[in-house]
């Protein structure tokens, strides 16, 4: 049994709980125990760093400090936005001792910077990929457009995850379960991110361009690893369709849902029924 620290983040307990469900289901299948960071808080997301620098560091620092307090050396952060905020905080505070001391004082907790932060793809690569082939019961025989968005790949100097232009990690992983990734142009274009509520028109336009390109290239499904991207591409589909002046019904799946389907995990356990755009396969 492998034990990893787990930071679900707010979205995964609410609007994107199917992401959490599918992550947990997948980990179960591979005998990985996810241990939630006790009493975790919101990372502050875009709002905090838009409005206050110290707040935008203190909120993630509290999360990481709690993980340290509980003896965790490695945590998985499925939400790309949280992953980004936590990684940037870790990087910033590790590079500036004075600032780290100041933030420690704000959160009233010591923070050493010892916890390794993994996104869901990195966790899968580390613990799951080698065993994946043996467990496939229903190859995911569909054309997919893997959508990475901004937060998984930028800033590259800090995240060091995949290359900034035309990343491949998710594509390569999905090939292992029988999917056929399409070569498309909008893998790392922004979907509109935190404007989902405040600027739905912009989200419709930006996400519209992304969805249209995926469909134009023959994709049958879009695959994401970020709740914000999912919300914009799935929940905001009416805004997208009204921008595109057409009806596009390509479903948007989390990468963990696609892997789960290939392993034969039930649709309910993976939370597919929670999507706005129905998943028909």
């Amino acid at each position: 049994m492998i034990k990893i620290g787990f930071y679900p983040g707010c979205s995964l307990t609410g609007s994107s709980r199917e992401y959490a469900e599918s992550v947990i289901a997948l980990c179960e299948a591979f005998n990985i125990e996810l241990k939630q960071i006790p009493d975790w808080n919101c990372c502050g997301a875009t709002a905090a760093h838009n409005l206050d620098k110290e707040l935008s560091l203190a909120l993630p620092a509290r999360i990481l400090a709690l993980a340290e307090q509980n003896g965790m050396t490695e945590i998985v952060v499925p939400c790309a936005a949280c992953y980004n905020r936590l990684s940037v905080t870790e990087h910033t505070l590790n590079a500036d001792e004075q600032l780290r001391a100041r933030i420690s004082e704000i959160i009233e907790m010591p923070y050493e910077g010892t916890v390794k932060i993994l996104n869901v793809i990195q966790m899968l690569q580390k613990y799951v990929v080698n065993e994946l082939a043996n467990k496939i019961v229903a190859p995911f025989d569909h054309k997919v457009a893997c959508y990475y968005g901004c937060l998984l790949v930028r800033p590259h100097e800090i995240l060091q995850f995949d290359r900034v232009e035309d990343p491949q990690t998710i594509d390569e992983m999905l090939k292992l379960v029988g999917a056929q990734p399409v070569d498309w142009a909008f893998k790392t274009e922004c979907c509109g991110a935190g404007f989902s509520v405040s600027q739905p028109d912009i989200v419709g336009k930006l996400s519209g361009k992304i969805v249209k390109d995926a469909v134009d290239r023959g994709a049958e499904a879009m695959v994401v690893a970020c709740p914000m991207c999912h919300a914009n591409l799935d929940m905001r589909r009416p805004a997208i369709n009204s921008y595109l002046k057409t009806t596009i019904d390509i479903p948007v799946l989390y990468v963990t849902q696609v892997l789960g389907l290939a392993l034969g995990i039930s649709r309910e356990k993976l939370g597919l029924q929670r999507h706005f755009v129905p998943v028909k396969f």
Partner: protein, 188 residues
């Protein structure tokens, strides 16, 4: 010794440099940022123009920047810096300009929805330690009076189990309150 003679720098660009270490004079106006920015066409000032205005070091341009819609439209997607030949951290500059704009009460009316959303978001985090989505939407609607927006989405979210009626709470809320008090609230 080592007391190098520096020209005294003033104005917004100097403040940007001091806070973010981003030197506006590094920008040679190639425009690659504006070319790649997903929201450039919605902006009143595309990112390369923001950098140019900082370079001019003129009070009236500083003022225009702080009252621009651009700074609030920036999505922090980091496309600009990832392709900038001079590695200029424009997102960091935008962060700085947003904070300065708020501190000086210069937030443009054209961005009030965006700022209201950020405020509602942080309010939720301050009160509960986490994001309470239903509360966020309610607070946002009260702030903006966009009462009818998304009236169809919310019920469907509830039906799909995506919205809680009761917020999840951090146990140590005192700790969270302290964090807010020592950071964002200390300045306002």
């Amino acid at each position: 010794m080592n007391n190098h003679l520096h020209h005294e720098e003033r104005g917004l660009a100097a403040d940007v440099k001091q806070t973010t270490s981003v030197a506006a004079e590094k920008c040679y106006q190639c425009g690659k940022c504006s070319a790649g920015c997903p929201v450039a066409s919605e902006m009143d000032l595309p990112p390369s123009l923001v950098m140019r205005m900082l370079q001019t070091n003129r009070p009236e341009n500083d003022e225009k920047l702080l009252r621009s819609k651009t700074i609030w439209l920036c999505l922090s997607c980091e496309m600009c810096i990832s392709r900038c030949p001079m590695s200029i951290d424009i997102p960091k500059v935008m962060d700085f300009l947003r904070r300065r704009s708020r501190d000086e009460g210069k937030v443009t009316d054209r961005a009030k929805d965006i700022v209201a959303f950020h405020d509602s978001f942080l309010l939720s985090v301050e009160k509960t330690g986490k994001l309470y989505e239903l509360g966020l939407i309610a607070a946002y609607k009260m702030k903006t009076l966009h009462l009818m927006q998304d009236v169809t989405v919310a019920p469907e979210m509830i039906q799909k189990g995506k919205l809680h009626f009761i917020p999840e709470m951090v146990k140590n809320r005192k700790n969270i309150a302290q964090i807010f008090k020592k950071t964002i609230k200390a300045k306002n």
